[in-house]
């Protein structure tokens, strides 16, 4: 029920620049996942990227529906000018690495382990899932970001998974972006 989830009234908007925050990135390198630290402006500069927000590693929708289809169609998503797919959650880098391994994601996704919720808070993309024994988490959303500016923002405004979050929606939006150019 809606009362379980407190969602911020202020969301980042299309046209805004991604806020500055320090990111813990978990990436596939030489057959394993390694963690590095990079600030968000460096991470998103001079590229078009997709940013997926998801409530929790190993939670049912994230594990069984949401992430797998992005992993499966990563090559399509990255074709023609999209440089990277980022996925963020309020989880530590060890949990994220284990999750990525379980999903057999390889190098399809660059994972943001936002263990202290710093980046989630900066984006104002959080939701209180204490009622579901999860605490402060990222909402489910996808963004298309071009050189640090948000060009598309598909926000579920909560943890739920609807058609809005399906990979097909993002592919359609990417298709429209390419046509503009």
């Amino acid at each position: 029920s809606k009362s379980l989830f407190n969602v911020s009234k202020r969301y980042i908007s299309v046209g805004e620049t991604i806020p500055h925050a320090n990111l813990k990135l978990v990436e596939w390198k030489n057959g394993e996942y390694a963690t590095t630290v990079l600030d968000s402006h460096s991470a998103f500069a001079n590229q078009r990227v997709i940013l997926i927000g998801y409530p929790g590693a190993f939670t049912p929708s994230c594990e069984n529906v949401h992430l797998p289809e992005y992993i499966k169609r990563a090559a399509e998503l990255k074709a023609d000018g999209t440089d990277k797919i980022f996925a963020m959650s309020v989880n530590d880098p060890f949990v994220v690495g284990a999750f990525a391994k379980k999903l057999e994601a390889g190098d399809a996704i660059t994972w943001i382990a936002d263990g202290n919720g710093e980046f989630t808070k900066a984006l104002d993309a959080g939701v209180d899932l204490s009622g579901a024994a999860l605490g402060y988490r990222s909402r489910r959303f996808t963004m298309i970001i071009e050189n640090k500016k948000v060009v598309e923002f598909n926000d579920e405004k909560g943890p739920q998974m609807t058609d809005l979050s399906r990979v097909v929606s993002v592919l359609t939006q990417l298709g429209k972006l390419k046509k503009k150019k």
Binding site: G56, A57, V95, G97, A98, D114, A133
Partner: protein, 167 residues
């Protein structure tokens, strides 16, 4: 006044187990820690993080391997692992590293047990306050033995082999 002072002190031998709000299982069931584990003898060990190296390669496997010895020697009915992780993460970790589920995983997702017991450590690399690494034996809700790693995360006095050797 006295009870307020107690709240700020760390859990020690002779204290009651904290009445902390935790969750067990998927889907999560909310339990009161003191009520749930307050009867008979129980061993509880705390880990800073599921899937982190020390917890995964040493601490948990030790208790899984020594489960029967621990139960026999210390007369405990249950071996409990508590961590500031959610139930989904703990279940995935448990399924991978304790497939026979010899250890009961308890999710202290909002660090209620860690805060109330004082058995906590701040680990920025993980994102904040976590359970410290410890092992305790309680009988009818009262702590009889307690070993907390001096730095909160080392691998020494809280390991199963250490308890088996010392107690």
């Amino acid at each position: 006044m006295r009870s307020t002072l107690r709240l700020m002190q760390k859990l020690k031998v002779g204290d009651k187990l904290p009445a902390a709000n935790v969750h067990i299982g998927v889907p999560p069931v909310a339990v009161n820690f003191a009520e749930k584990f307050g009867k008979g003898r129980v061993l509880v060990f705390g880990v800073p993080g599921a899937f982190t190296p020390g917890c995964t390669k040493t601490h948990l496997p030790g208790y899984v391997k020594d489960s029967a010895k621990i139960r026999a020697k210390f007369g405990v009915n249950e071996i409990v692992c508590i961590a500031v992780n959610d139930v989904f993460v703990l279940e995935a970790w448990s399924m991978k590293y304790d497939p026979k589920q010899t250890v009961t995983m308890v999710s202290d997702a909002v660090a209620d047990f860690a805060t109330k017991s004082g058995l906590k450590v701040d680990l920025p690399v993980l994102g904040g306050i976590r359970s410290s690494r410890f092992a305790l034996i309680a009988e009818d809700g009262v702590v009889k033995n307690l070993f907390e790693e001096p730095d909160g995360k080392g691998l020494s006095c809280s390991l199963s082999e250490s308890l088996l050797a010392k107690l």
